[in-house]
Structures are given as structure tokens and as C-alpha cells.
């Protein structure tokens, strides 16, 4: 750190350090057992309290947007897998949605149902992993994490048998999906969905009323609703602060208006609320999945007239967004009539949710910084692109 932290970051008032002596400046460095990837935080401490915190990232920058402006539209689809590498199918859907908006492509009904099923499965496995990692950082020596991963494996096996790959699925196409979900796949999905409520119950048994978890999470890392809305926070963090904004209900993209599900809202905006909102969202996703798996119609899985090669949309622009498990994932494309877009911009939810990390951590103990950071639920692939 070349310049003093206190000068460089123009932010709302800093908490005054009481007591004399210098502030202890430490760097919770890129290699750290609890940061979810290569991420650095420069923290200034007064004893145990955090006075200033500056996140430093960019260690995983891979030129996503530049690549998007060089390769063609279809070629960018596997790259979007690697943005939020836990939830590749929702990334694919966001990008496909944007391109379909750009050219006005229609999507057949069966394809929409398949997209919803896969997106909700992705949401469940992401929330389970997030809670597992959160408790791992609190020192539960990995037990909830292992339970979450046990269930996640079932969902990933489903993805592998359908798309060919567990994580980098590359499944959505402009106008539908790449291959059809056969009856065998649907039955396997139904079996997985039937087993999941018991897992969520066990998970809650282990964690929700645990007094130590309550002591570590309640009242820590509070986000007020006004701050959340002003800073552009989206996703479970926003809903835990009490703001009712779920893009599935607001935009009604895809066929989400056909399913009946509720949006859980928190009250205090602390870590415990974020944890509970994620658990309740998992249950709501199960409801959507049951409805979708029951109602899925027969039909084409991709628009037969959609082009694969030589895709050249007319000049124009489009912004498409979905409710990714981490927040609002948006793509902004400007086309100039060529094979690759003129401007390819990704709105990463993790990056924008991280901007209020300092506001959440001020005045808290340094032991809580790691836990607050875990509750924001970031993936470095998305933050740094």
C-alpha cells in the first residue's frame, strides 16, 4: 500500500478511532483461506474494530467484454459460462435473452419450461453452496458445506447427463436450447426434486436455531434498505434488507408469470436475514420446479428457423436481465451489423453488491469481516470478469 488508506477513498464519514496510537493496517491478502477466490481487502484496524476497508480486486480479470467484442455471438456463449462459474445456466439464459431481444427472436414454449427448470435447479445448488461456505468461514469445520455439496452433486449429475458438462454447460441457444430434455431426464429431475425438501429440512435443523450461529450472524453487517437501493444492490441481499424487488416478478421474463411462488423478505438486513432469505428462496424454487415439471408441454425445443452460423443482427441495442442467484445479471449489447457486437457489457451482480462492503464492515470486529464478506455471496469470476 503506497498511499495512506485514509486519503484515497472518498466515502461517507469514517468512524473515529478512539484511543491513541496508530491504526493497524493489514492486508487480508489475495491468498487467504476464506476469500472466495483471489481477492484482497486492505483493512485499517483500531484494536479489533474496523475503521477503514478498501477492497482490491482485478486479480482474475480475463477480458471478458473485450473477447465478446471480438468473437461472434454464438462463440460468446461458452464464455458466459465462465462468468459466475457456479451458475453457468443462468448466465447462458441472460445472454440468450439479450440476443433474442436484440433480434426479436421468439422461443418455443417447451424451451421456456426447460430454461425455468434448469435455472431454478441452479438457484438451489448455488444457495446451498453459499450457506455451506458461510458456515465454513464461521468455523463449522465444513459439515454443512459437505451436506450442501452432497445435494449439489445430484443436481450436477443431472446437468452432466443433459448438457455434457457439470459446470460449463453451454446449453442455451438463441431461440431455445441445444438438445431436448428427454422423458428420462425429466424423470431424473423429478426424483431429485422429490428428495430435496428433506435435505433443506435437515439443513435447517442443523443451522437455523443454532444459538452460536445466531450470536455470530444476528445484528452483524446490517444494510439499511435506502442504502441498498441507492447503491444498486440486487438479489437476496436486497430482499434481506426488506425491499421487495425480484426481477422474476417485476419483468416477468420467460414464463415466470405462470408459476405461483412467493418472495421472502427480511427485516433487519443482517447476515442472519440473508441466510434465511436464501433458505426460503430454495423452498420457493422447489415449488416452481414442481409446477414446471408437471406442466411442461411437448413441442420443439428450439426455433427451427434460428441461425447458428453467420449470425449478423441488424444494428441496434438491447439490455436483457434476469434474476440470477446472486442478483440482477444483465447484458448490454450494441450491434453494428457485424458478426460480433460493437459493445458487450456485463452487469455483474457480485461486483455491484461488493461496493457497500465497507459500509457494512465499519465498526465491526475484524473476525466479522470475513463472515460479512461471505454473506454477500460473490464469485470472483463475475467480479473481475
Amino acid at each position: 500500500m503506497s498511499e495512506s488508506l485514509l486519503e484515497t477513498w472518498n466515502r461517507p464519514p469514517v468512524i473515529e478511532a478512539d484511543g491513541e496510537g496508530e491504526l493497524l493496517e493489514i492486508s487480508m491478502g489475495p491468498h487467504h483461506p476464506s476469500t472466495h477466490g483471489v481477492f484482497r481487502m486492505d483493512v485499517a484496524l483500531d484494536g479489533e474494530r474496523v475503521i477503514k476497508l478498501k477492497p482490491v480486486f482485478g486479480y482474475l480479470h480475463r477480458n471478458h467484454e473485450q473477447i465478446g467484442q471480438t468473437v461472434g455471438y454464438l462463440q460468446m456463449m461458452p464464455y458466459t459460462d465462465r462468468l459466475d462459474y457456479f451458475c453457468s445456466l443462468t448466465n447462458n439464459w441472460a445472454y440468450a435473452l439479450t440476443v433474442e431481444k436484440l433480434v426479436g427472436q421468439a422461443v418455443p414454449e417447451r424451451a421456456e419450461y426447460i430454461r425455468v427448470i434448469l435455472a431454478e435447479l441452479t438457484r438451489i445448488q448455488n444457495h446451498a453452496s453459499t450457506i455451506g461456505f458461510l458456515t465454513q468461514e464461521m468455523g463449522a469445520s465444513g459439515t454443512p458445506l459437505m451436506y450442501a455439496f452432497r445435494e449439489r452433486e445430484k443436481i450436477l449429475d443431472l446437468f452432466e447427463s443433459l448438457t455434457g458438462s457439470r459446470l460449463m454447460c453451454n446449453y442455451m441457444r438463441f431461440g431455445g436450447c441445444r438438445v431436448d430434455m428427454s422423458e428420462a431426464h425429466l424423470n431424473a429431475a423429478r426424483k431429485v426434486v422429490a428428495e430435496l425438501p428433506q435435505f433443506i429440512d435437515e439443513f435447517e435443523n442443523l443451522l437455523t436455531s443454532n444459538e452460536i450461529l445466531m450470536a455470530r450472524c444476528q445484528g452483524i453487517g446490517v444494510v439499511k434498505p435506502e442504502l441498498a437501493v441507492n447503491a444498486g444492490i440486487t438479489g437476496p441481499m436486497l430482499r434481506a434488507a426488506g425491499v421487495n424487488y425480484d426481477i422474476r416478478k417485476v419483468d416477468r421474463y420467460g414464463i415466470y408469470d405462470r408459476f405461483s411462488f412467493r418472495v421472502p423478505l427480511g427485516e433487519h438486513g443482517d447476515i442472519y436475514d440473508r441466510y434465511m432469505v436464501r433458505v426460503l428462496e430454495m423452498r420457493e424454487s422447489l415449488k416452481i420446479l414442481e409446477q414446471a415439471l408437471k406442466d411442461i408441454p411437448a413441442g420443439p425445443f428450439v426455433d427451427p428457423k434460428a441461425k447458428i452460423r453467420g449470425f449478423k443482427p441488424k444494428p441496434g441495442e438491447a439490455y436483457g436481465r434476469i434474476e440470477a442467484p446472486k442478483g440482477e445479471l444483465g447484458f448490454y449489447l450494441i450491434s453494428d451489423g457485424g458478426t460480433s457486437p460493437y459493445r458487450f457489457r456485463i452487469r455483474p451482480p457480485s461486483f455491484i453488491n461488493l461496493t457497500i462492503l465497507e459500509d457494512m464492515c465499519l465498526g465491526q470486529n475484524v473476525a466479522d469481516v470475513v463472515v460479512i464478506f461471505g454473506s454477500v455471496d460473490i464469485v470472483l469470476g463475475e467480479v473481475d470478469r
Binding site: P78, Y79, R82, G164, L207, S209
Partner: protein, 204 residues
């Protein structure tokens, strides 16, 4: 009461501990490399080239059209065309690749090359134990390493291979049908043209 949640947590862990001795679901370890989890049929890792028959050079389906090279997102395929031609599965003379390299340290297994290939020549393999200590040469696969027989394709992706074979057989049947129809028409024309040489030339 204070401590109730803690007791519930302890009960949950105890249940998992006891369950790990009796049920397979509570002990999910697969002891690699002695046991292996069976890969689903659709599983993909890196591409390979399919050849029919016994001779890999003669039976290689690839005709060096270079579509996969153009469509590959990270540009990991390198193709060089041949100067001469060889017959393909339907008997037509096609050029073939003299060099077909895939750099698997760059390849991201996206499967776009498979989707765009019009000749069913490149398919996805599912082999993942490709670790080597030669970082550059060991990860560059040339066409000899990439060429694998159609029987292998049937072994790893049976449904897909059956569909591909059916489609190719259909194509071949169509080509042969056309050839036979053309031969019959030519013979008929020759037979019709032979006994009347003085009729004059038919307008062509």
C-alpha cells in the same frame, strides 16, 4: 430454552454419523482410482476425429472444410489442406487434412465445433485422464492422436453414434440412388441416341 438449537444440531450430526455406516446415501465417497463413477452418456471433454473402417487415414471423415477452425471460440484448431483427394464414405472424392492440431490446453470443451461440422467428422470424447508433464508438446494433439474409430464412438456415445450412422447411411443411400438413377438415365439416353444417328442433334 438456551441450548435447544445446539442439541438439534448435535442430533443431526449424529444421525449422519450413524447413517454413514448403513446407507450409501450418507457416505458418498467414490474411492478413485479403484472405483470410478460411471460417466453419463452425454459427458464431453475434448474433441476427437472419427474414422470409418480399419485404416485411419483412408477412413477419416474430415474433409478439411475448416468450418470448425473458424467457429472455434478460443481458436485452438489448426488445419492444413491436402493437395490430392481421396474418396469419402459415399465414394465421392474429397480433400483431406494433412495437419489437424488441437491444443487441448486452450480448448474449452464448448462443443461448438461438433455442432457446426456438416460431415459428422469431429465428435466429443470423454477422456479426462490426460495429465502430462510436458506442458506444450504433450497438450498438442495431432491428427493421429485425435483419430479414433467409429467403434469407439459407439462405445462412448451409443445413442448419438447410432443416430449419426443412420443419417450417414441415409445420405449414402440417397447418393447411390441418385448415381443409379443417373446411370439408368445415361444408359437410356445412350440406348435412345444410338439407333438414330441421322435424326440430328437434339437441342441440348
Amino acid at each position: 430454552m438456551l441450548g435447544e438449537g445446539l442439541l438439534k444440531g448435535l442430533a443431526e450430526t449424529a444421525r449422519n454419523f450413524a447413517g454413514s455406516f448403513v446407507s450409501k446415501e450418507r457416505l458418498t465417497t467414490v474411492q478413485y482410482p479403484e472405483e470410478r463413477h460411471p460417466l453419463p452418456e452425454a459427458s464431453r471433454n475434448f474433441p476427437f476425429l472419427v474414422y470409418d473402417g480399419a485404416d485411419w487415414e483412408a477412413g477419416l471423415r474430415c474433409v478439411a472444410c475448416q468450418i470448425c477452425e473458424k467457429e472455434c471460440p478460443p481458436k485452438c484448431i489448426y488445419i492444413e489442406k491436402s493437395k490430392d483427394k481421396k474418396p469419402d464414405y459415399a465414394g465421392k472424392l474429397q480433400i483431406y487434412p494433412t495437419q489437424f492440431d488441437i491444443d487441448i490446453s486452450v480448448c474449452m470443451s464448448c462443443q461448438i465445433c461438433v455442432e457446426v461440422c456438416p460431415f459428422e467428422a469431429i465428435k466429443m470424447d470423454n477422456e479426462f485422464e490426460l495429465a502430462t508433464d510436458d506442458r506444450f508438446g504433450g497438450l498438442l494433439q495431432d491428427r493421429k492422436q485425435l483419430a479414433k474409430p467409429n467403434e469407439y464412438y459407439h462405445k462412448i456415445h451409443p445413442t448419438e453414434a447410432a443416430e449419426v450412422d443412420a443419417r450417414l447411411a441415409e445420405e449414402k443411400a440417397k447418393v447411390e440412388e441418385k448415381a443409379r438413377a443417373a446411370a439408368v438415365a445415361a444408359a437410356a439416353k445412350a440406348a435412345a441416341a444410338a439407333p438414330k444417328p441421322a435424326e440430328g442433334a437434339q437441342p441440348q
